[in-house]
């Protein structure tokens, strides 16, 4: 079963531009110039129940707009959305009962009252029975380790503490689908790890579908098998994170630091029958060979270089997901 079905989804915004100068301002009074800007440009994708999907893209790529349409906050300009078998905007009040939402930059909790009071009110809002609440939330509270925070007002919590409470609040009605918009923004490593672990756990336990946007790609690497990548309102990649790496990862880099003086041309000559491109970092005298994914070539380069020069240090680097994605955005998909 598909938790999310998106078909030809499009959202346009009118962007007004003002003319310059005073006379321009006068003209703006009567006829305003505007452009229709598509924030999301006819995208289509499906998400299966129980999948964890990373939704990534640069600022302004249309991530938030998509999430807001999927959660029923915004009305699409054209296109079809079926989430949990409903049209989010048309049946908003019934629909939101089946989703949980965490916006990293916006609090769901009441600022002035204790966390448990917020939970209690949300429990009423979502019509959760005592039995369900106790069984489910006891576990959530324990796993997120927020027991000691429950009687504190939200305004006294640190960002990491608050985020954990936000996550718990979004799960009070145990929704089958969870939207997380930048849930780890500004959090320290330990809190991040805890949140990731927790998300994995509820995904396994309840088969919860999770759609996650983040700028921190390590989140995606830790959680998601699948990524959807957005650029200027278009989906430019939709598939497994692994094959993204295989397809766009540009081989390996081997860096050498030598004890004696080395010569770039000589190194190039040594490996001229292999796929290797040498670069020299003049400042640190680090010689780097860029090669493909062929393991034989890697070991050959190392073997020949080490035989020719005395080596202080050798490093083999694989490009990180972040670098791959930066590459894709810089060079385009083609």
């Amino acid at each position: 079963m598909n938790a999310i079905e998106v078909n030809g989804l499009r959202k346009e915004f009118k962007a007004y531009s003002s003319r310059s100068g005073l006379s321009g301002a006068f003209r703006d009074l009567f006829t305003r110039n505007y452009k229709i800007v598509p924030a999301v440009n006819d995208i289509s994708f499906n998400v299966k129940q129980g999948e964890m999907v990373g939704y990534i893209g640069e600022n302004g790529a249309g991530k938030s707009t998509t999430i807001k349409m999927l959660t029923g906050i915004l009305t699409p300009t054209t296109g079809g959305i079926i989430v949990n078998g409903m049209n989010p905007h048309k049946e908003r009040e019934r629909f939101v009962q089946t989703i949980g939402v965490v916006f990293g930059q916006r609090s769901q909790l009441w600022w002035d009252i204790a966390v448990q009071e917020s939970f209690r009110l949300l429990k009423k809002v979502y019509k959760v029975s005592d039995a369900h609440y106790n069984e489910h939330m006891d576990h959530v509270i324990k796993t997120l380790d927020i027991e000691p925070l429950l009687d504190k007002p939200v305004r006294k919590l640190s960002l990491g503490q608050r985020m954990r409470c936000e996550l718990a609040a979004a799960l009070i009605h145990n929704p089958p689908l969870l939207f997380l918009d930048e849930p780890t923004i500004g959090l320290d490593v330990l809190v991040k790890l805890k949140i990731r672990e927790f998300l994995k756990e509820i995904n396994e336990k309840y088969n919860t579908t999770i759609l996650l946007t983040t700028h921190d790609l390590t989140d995606i690497e830790a959680l998601c098998e699948r990524v959807i990548m957005l650029d200027e309102g278009n989906i430019i990649y939709d598939g497994a994170l692994k094959s993204l790496k295989e397809k766009w990862g540009e081989g390996k880099e081997i860096s050498f630091e030598f004890l004696e003086k080395a010569d770039l041309q000589h190194l190039e000559a040594l490996t001229n029958d292999l796929e290797a491109k040498w670069e020299l970092d003049e400042k640190d005298q680090i010689f780097t060979a860029v090669t493909g994914d062929d393991e034989e070539a890697v070991s050959q380069i190392i073997a020949r270089t080490v035989a020719a020069y005395k080596v202080r240090d050798v490093k083999i680097n694989e490009p990180s997901t972040e670098e791959i994605i930066r590459n894709i955005y810089e060079k385009g998909m083609a």
Partner: protein, 261 residues
């Protein structure tokens, strides 16, 4: 039923928030009471100098003023939405509202209620009793019931107008200064409408029907039979305007653009 239950849940939550700041609460209660007392004295002093106004006696005018304060207090307590544009549209709080399974307008109202304003109703009742006793008004057994209906009608009129104004934010991005202007116009409903010229009277009756919050319903209790038609129409106008405003709100929500992160 769910909505009634949620209403009381939010009221309870509101009380708790207030009790969190105990010192504030005491100061606020005190200043509210003081404000209402000053208000009361002020009304009596101001109207002391008017004798007759277009056929209305001083006490009648005071009575209308007192009546007006009751629906106005209820309105201010529960429809405290004058900063809707800034708080919910510009800051994007509307996003959060829209992810919860309760009607969005109802949520905004619940979140923004300001129960201290209810003290104004006490002042209003005091003013009415003062003026009423001097006028030797006679009351029927069903008058208190009618009072409740007319007050609610007045609240709906006020609420309808201000919800519609709040809805402008869904269409226009810029902040508008219509809200404070409207509060001023609302004050015209406190005085007998026949002291104004015809055009203003028409506006206050049919376009921005503030007259239905003060003078029209109050005329019923003053036994001014020539106005009874308008008095009875108060709940109708209230329901029409409020229904219209909810309709516009629902349309507006569809146009909500959200705030960028």
């Amino acid at each position: 039923m769910f909505y009634v239950r949620m209403f009381f849940q939010y009221v309870a939550q509101y009380m708790k928030t207030r009790l969190e700041y105990r010192a504030d609460l005491v100061v606020e209660l005190f200043s509210d009471l003081l404000f209402q007392a000053v208000n009361l004295i002020f009304i009596l002093v101001v109207f002391d100098h008017t004798e007759f106004l277009n056929g209305w006696s001083r006490d009648e005018i005071i009575f209308i003023y007192g009546f007006f304060l009751v629906p106005f207090a209820l309105f201010s307590s529960f429809f405290n939405i004058w900063d809707f544009n800034e708080r919910y549209i510009v800051k994007g709080e509307m996003d959060r509202i829209l992810t919860r399974p309760i009607h969005s307008l109802f949520q905004v109202i619940l979140e923004r209620m300001e129960l201290e304003s209810l003290f104004g109703a006490v002042t209003g009742l005091a003013v009415m009793f003062y003026a009423g006793s001097r006028l030797n008004l006679e009351f029927n057994w069903y008058d208190p019931l009618l009072f409740v209906v007319l007050v609610l009608g007045g609240v709906l009129v006020y609420a309808g107008i201000f919800v519609m104004i709040a809805c402008i934010s869904f269409w226009a991005d810029a902040r508008t200064s219509i809200m404070p202007m409207m509060y001023n116009i609302g004050n015209y409903g406190r005085y007998p409408v026949d002291i104004y010229n015809k055009a203003i009277r028409f506006v206050l009756t049919w376009i921005l029907p503030f007259a239905f919050v003060g003078v029209y319903p109050a005329a019923y209790f003053l036994g001014r039979e020539e106005w009874y038609g308008y008095s009875y129409m108060t709940p109708v106008i209230g329901i029409v305007f409020f229904t219209l405003s909810v309709f516009i709100w629902n349309e507006g929500v569809k146009r909500y653009r959200g705030a960028g992160n």
